[in-house]
Symmetry: C2
Subunit: 421 residues, 2 copies
Amino acid sequence: MNFLNEVADEFPSAISFAAGRPTDQFFDRLNGGALLDAFARYERHARVAHPQSKERSSLLQYGRTAGIIGHLVVQQLATDEDVHATSDRLIMTSGCQEALALCLPTLCPDRRDVALACNPTYIGFTCAAQAGGVDVVPLSTKIADIAEAIDRSVSQLRRDGRRARVLYLIPNFDNPTGRMLDEGHRKDILDICRRSRIVVLEDNAYGMFQYDGETIRSMSALDQGECVIHLSTFSKTVAPAVRVGTLVLPESLFGDCEARKSLWHQLVQRKSYLTLNTSQITQAIVGGLLLQENGSLKEWIRPAVDWYRHNRDVMLRQLEQVFAPICDQIGWNRPSGGFFVALDVPFRFDADAVTDCATKYGIIVMPMSFFAFDESQDQRIRLAFSWVDPERIRIGIEALGHFVASRIKSVQEVQTTCNIF
Amino acid sequence: MNFLNEVADEFPSAISFAAGRPTDQFFDRLNGGALLDAFARYERHARVAHPQSKERSSLLQYGRTAGIIGHLVVQQLATDEDVHATSDRLIMTSGCQEALALCLPTLCPDRRDVALACNPTYIGFTCAAQAGGVDVVPLSTKIADIAEAIDRSVSQLRRDGRRARVLYLIPNFDNPTGRMLDEGHRKDILDICRRSRIVVLEDNAYGMFQYDGETIRSMSALDQGECVIHLSTFSKTVAPAVRVGTLVLPESLFGDCEARKSLWHQLVQRKSYLTLNTSQITQAIVGGLLLQENGSLKEWIRPAVDWYRHNRDVMLRQLEQVFAPICDQIGWNRPSGGFFVALDVPFRFDADAVTDCATKYGIIVMPMSFFAFDESQDQRIRLAFSWVDPERIRIGIEALGHFVASRIKSVQEVQTTCNIF
C-alpha cells in the first residue's frame, strides 16, 4: 500500500527493503518523447480502426467506462500470461487497486458474505475490502494445504450463517511471502472453490517476473472459465504512473453465462460511480506500447527481469553468507520470481524493531505482521529486492545481520537472566 | 453520468442536446506535442523544486496519495475561482467523480446519516452515494427557498432518528437545471448548514464558464472556512481524459481544525484504498499547463467560453423563435453560464418521448426526470448546448419545436375526444 511507498521517503538515506515498487532503472525508456510516441502510435491505430471519427479529439473526451484498449490487452494476456480473454469480459481499471475496489462489494453484496484470504495477504486487498464494507476471513495458518483450509473455512462460515463468496490469491510470487503455488494445489483450490461457488480473484501482478524454474499455468487458464477473475496491472511492466490495470471475467460464473454478463455490467456500473473511466491518455500510452511491442511485453521487460533476477541472487547469496553462523535459527525462502523474500527470525519483529533497524542500522524492512490478521506472522520479515541496487542489497543485508545478531543476543541475555533469578 | 455520454453513440446521426460534454473544438491545442510540452514543463519545474531527486523517474513511479500538483492548483483556484486553499487541505482526485466517492461514505459513516440534494440533481452524485451506501434525501420541491427546505429536512430527519451530514450543491450553473444561486441564498444556506453541522459539497465544475452577468462569490469563499468542501475538475477546462479533479477542505470543520485534519487523513486513506493515487503522468500534464498559463486557466479557456456563449445565445434565440406561437405553454431559463438550459413542456416527457425525438425528429434530449427523485420533473427537459455546433442547434431546436407541437396537438386531441364522450 501507499504506506510502503511513503515509508521510504521518511528515511531517505536508509537502504529500503520495504518498498515493493518496480525499479526506476529502466524508466528512461519512457521519457517524454517515448510517452508521446506511444500516445501517437495508439492514436494512428485508432484512426485506422475508426476512420470516420475525429479520434484525436475523442481520446481527450470522456470515454467508454470499460476502457478503449481491451482488444490489445486481450492479445497481450494470451501471449504473455496464458490468459484467454475476450474484450466483452474485460474491464480496464485505474490500476489493480480499483479492480479490487470494484469486485469486492459487487461480489459480496450481503452483510453475511465474506471474502477469504491467505494469512498474511496483500494489504491493498484488505484495505479495498474495508472500504467496500466487506469482511475478510483469513484462512487458518495451522492448515498447510490452502484447499483444505478453504474447505474448513466454508464449513465454519456456514455454521455461523455466513457465506464465503470470494477467495483472494496471488498464486505467482505472492506479496508478501514470495510463495508460488504448484499446479496440483491450484487445481485443488479451483475444485473446492467451484464446489463452494467461491469466485477466485487471481492477482497476477508478478506473473511475468519469473527468473528461473518451471512455469505454472495461471489459475485462470486452469479454470476452464468458471470461477476465476484474473487481475493484472501495467504498474510493474510499464510504470505505476499509468494507473492502468485490467480485470477479466471467466466465460461463465459456475456455468452460467448470463450471470457473468450481469456481473460485468454491475462492475462497469460501479466503475462509472467511482472514476467514470480510466484516463484515455494513459490507456493510449499503454496501448501504443503494446502496438510497438507487437502485443507482448516480454521483450520490453527483459532488462528489468534480468535486473530483478540478479538482485534476488545477490540477496539470497548475501543472506546465506551473513546468516551462515546462525542458520539453525534463521530461515528464508528462495522465490523463483517476483519482488519478495520472506525471512523467519527467532524473535518478535514489531514496530520498535522497524525503528531500531532504520535508526541504528540504516535499513528499512517490513514486518510481516503488517500483512497479517493475527500474531502468526510476528517473527517474520518481508524483504523486497526490486527497488534497491545490488551493492546496497549487500550492505543492507549485512546490516540486517548485525541487527538480528544483536536481537538474538539480547533475547539470550534475557533468557540467561531469567534463568539466574 | 456515462449513460449521457454513451447515448450519443447510439444515434450517431441525431443532433444531441443530451451529452453535457465539453466541446472538442479546442482539443487540437492538446495534440500529442502539446501534451508532451506540458509534461516536460512540469518535469523541469519539479527538477528545479527537488534538485536532488531523479524526478523524471519518480514521476513514473507510485506517488503521493494526495497528489503532486497541489501547490499549482492552490494558485489557480485563488486566481480563477476565488477559492483560497492551502496544499495541506487539498487532495488531487481521479476526476470529480472520485472526490464524491471519497467524501460521501467518509462524511456519512453511520447508517442513519444522510446526504441532502436538490431535486433534480446531478446523477454522478446520487450514483456515488449509492456505491458508498449513503442514503440521499431530496429537498422538497414545494419549498422554493433552499435554506428553508434544508431546515425542514433537518427537522424531519431528526424526528425520524436520522441526521443530515452533507448537502450536495452546484451553485454555479447547476447540472441539470442551469440555475445560479444568488449571494443571499448562498449565505442563507451556509447559515443553516453551519447551525445544523452539515458539510456543503460545493461542486464548481462550471464556475469558470460564465458568459455574462454578475459574478457571485463561491460558497467556499463566503463560508469563512467552516463547512464547505470545494470540488473542482479539469475535465471542462483542460480535457476529460486527464481524469484530474481536486477537493479542498475548509480551514476547520465547524471551528475545529483538528477535525478537518482528521477528515483529510481519512479521505486520503480511502483514496489509497480505491485508486492508490491519481496518474502522475496526467497530473504532470495539468501541472505543466498551469505553469505555461502562469497559474490561471482563464485565457486558456477563453475560446471555449466564447464558443459556449455563442451556442447559448443561438439556443435561446432559436427557442424564442420556435416557441413564440406557444409561449404561453412552454418555458425555459436563460442561464448566464454553464452548459444547460431547462425547458418546461405541458406534457410528460418520458423514455418513449426520448425514442420519439430520436427516431422521428433526429434529436436526442434528456428528460429531466432522469435526474429526479420523484415525478416533479416529469414535464421538463435538459438541453445541453456545450457539444453541438450553432447550425445544428438551430436545426435541432426547430425539430424539437415540431416534436413539441405534435405532442401538444395529440394531448389536445385526447382532451377533445374525452369531451365528446
